[in-house]
């Protein structure tokens, strides 16, 4: 109940943002929201102790599924696209998860990376999908309601915010209860989980599936925001970015991924605007500073403050 109330505040704030702020801010907020959903999925996976360096796979699948709907099947409804993105990613995750759920530690990370890079290779080879250039997509309706151009992104932002809040609440419920404890159990001690009669494999599998579907949803949201998809979305640097945002936010709260994603987007933008020649260095230094001074992510700040109050 409390979580629901807490969730409404950002929803209201984002709706306000969507209606009132300039276009570029709407776009940035939407991108941050999309990445936040992906990272929240990553947190679900990390609860079992596994870090995927290949979430770009599902991010890309979600984005391409949404874009293909618009481009080849001429479905231009944003809601359908979002659903399709999550469903397509979930489907592939359900397949690959059968294999990946057996792996742990760095091997899990590397095998998931390998799969994302294989998709990258396939996309680059697909001339019909524009190869590395990718292609554009356009959503014209939302739940069947036609959208005027210019308004659409504001609507998508609200839609994205609703999606994110619903997903975040579901994750909150899931991780706050037995499943969350069980996943932590898998992270701490798989042997004990097995000797209590539960299957660590199943726990990992389900969490992997959830993370995949959420990355797909995030990918579809990002595709709607950008209006363009390309194989870069599946590249390892994209996946690395998600892991970084997860670490930046910390694993203490369901809101952390969204806040961290916003800060990451803003950091990158500031760096590119004010230091176009050394933006990579600025970003790298910022990352180091965060890791060094906020070891548990941004939530360290909140915790410190709470303690000092």
């Amino acid at each position: 109940m409390k979580a629901a109330i807490v969730a409404i505040a950002p929803l209201v704030a984002l709706t306000g943002l969507a209606l009132l702020s300039p276009q570029w801010l709407v776009f940035m907020a939407m991108l941050a929201l999309a990445k936040g959903v992906v990272v929240l999925g990553l947190l679900v996976l990390m609860r079992t102790g596994l870090v995927s360096f290949g979430q770009g796979l599902y991010f890309g699948i979600g984005a391409y599924a949404a874009a293909l709907l618009s481009h080849h099947l001429h479905v231009a409804d944003a809601a359908v696209m979002l659903l399709a993105g999550a469903a397509a990613a979930g489907l592939i995750a359900a397949l690959l998860g059968l294999l990946l759920a057996r792996y742990r530690d760095i091997f899990f990370a590397m095998l998931s990376l390998a799969f994302s890079m294989i998709l990258y290779g396939v996309l680059v080879k697909s001339a019909a999908l524009g190869s590395t250039d990718g292609f554009n997509l356009h959503a014209r309706t939302f739940f069947g309601v036609a959208l005027a151009s210019g308004v659409e992104r504001r609507v998508f932002l609200i839609a994205g915010a609703v999606c994110a809040v619903v997903v975040a609440l579901l994750v909150h419920r899931l991780l706050g209860g037995h499943w969350g404890r069980l996943a932590t159990g898998v992270r701490d001690n798989e042997l004990r989980v097995a000797y209590l009669g539960a299957s660590p494999y199943r726990v990992v599998y389900v969490n992997y599936l959830i993370a995949g579907a959420m990355a797909g949803l995030g990918g579809a949201l990002a595709a709607l925001a950008v209006g363009h998809v390309d194989p870069e979305m599946t590249y390892w640097t994209t996946s690395g970015e998600f892991v970084f945002i997860a670490i930046l936010g910390g694993t203490q709260s369901i809101l952390a991924p969204f806040v961290a994603a916003s800060i990451f987007e803003a950091l990158r933008t500031i760096a590119s605007q004010y230091a176009p020649n050394v933006w990579q260095m600025s970003l790298g230094l910022a990352m180091l500073a965060i890791i060094m001074f906020l070891p548990a992510g941004l939530w360290t700040l909140a915790e410190r403050r709470r303690r000092s109050v």
Partner: protein, 243 residues
């Protein structure tokens, strides 16, 4: 009354080392059996085979009427065999209560919260309920390990050196709590133990292992007095030295 657990002709070797040589054992319901023997005699190997961690090279393990060889630990646990470990296997980042909640929830209790609270009381763990398992003293870790094993409502409870690593003055207290809880739950108990005072005090039957085989099996009085047991198990040349 039919046996809870029957082992027939179990064989297991690791390379040249024979860890189980034609083990034949039968355990009756409600009994408390202690497995004794020097390190490497094959006690833990026996537990590991019964719980599916190791697969015997040959032989049968019947739980009730059912052959459980080849089943996974998880499946065997579901059937009703649970175990504790020489090194307690806990969820270190969860609190004691959460550890129990995980166990009770997996065991599909209708009200895991109430069940966890009940276990906390029964095992005298309530004062530690909110502490992280990773920070507990060893004796409490042992107790928590056993309490989690028991919460899966099993018919057969296997305890691997429940008192190892615990100070001498705590041992009996811990065993009293454990055995009391086991009796209340009505489970059959098989426990591996090096401390012969504990064995003599709590076991109704003792099985002595040596070099993968069984050299004695019977009441504590007879077994602990048998000459080969005194020589190879309690023997002066191998003093109690749990690794």
């Amino acid at each position: 009354m039919s046996a809870v657990l029957t082992a027939k002709g179990l064989q297991k070797s690791f390379g040249a080392v024979k860890a189980a040589v034609d083990i034949n054992l039968t355990f009756d319901p409600g009994t408390v059996v202690s497995l004794i023997g020097a390190n490497g005699a094959g006690k833990t190997t026996f537990l590991n085979m019964v719980t599916g961690y190791l697969r015997p090279d040959s032989g049968q393990i019947l739980f009730g009427e059912r052959d459980i060889v080849g089943l996974k630990p998880r499946q065997i646990t579901k059937l009703g065999i649970s175990r504790s470990f020489q090194i307690p296997q806990l969820f270190n980042s969860l609190s004691v209560r959460e550890n129990l909640l995980v166990a009770e929830s997996i065991a599909a209790m209708d009200d895991p919260q109430a069940a966890a609270d009940e276990t906390l009381t029964r095992f005298e763990l309530a004062p530690y309920a909110a502490q992280k398992a990773g920070l507990l003293p060893e004796g409490i870790r042992k107790l928590l390990d056993v309490s989690m094993a028991l919460s899966s409502r099993s018919k057969l409870l296997l305890l691997d050196e429940p008192t190892s690593g615990v100070s001498a003055d705590e041992k009996f207290a811990i065993m009293d709590v454990v055995m009391g809880a086991a009796r209340a739950a009505g489970v059959t108990v098989i426990f591996v133990e090096h401390d012969m005072d504990i064995v003599a005090r709590f076991a109704g039957r003792v099985v002595a292992f040596y070099d993968g085989g069984i050299i004695a099996d019977g009441s504590p009085d007879t077994v602990l007095r048998a000459e080969n047991v005194r020589r190879y198990v309690i023997g002066e040349e191998i003093p109690h030295a749990a690794a």
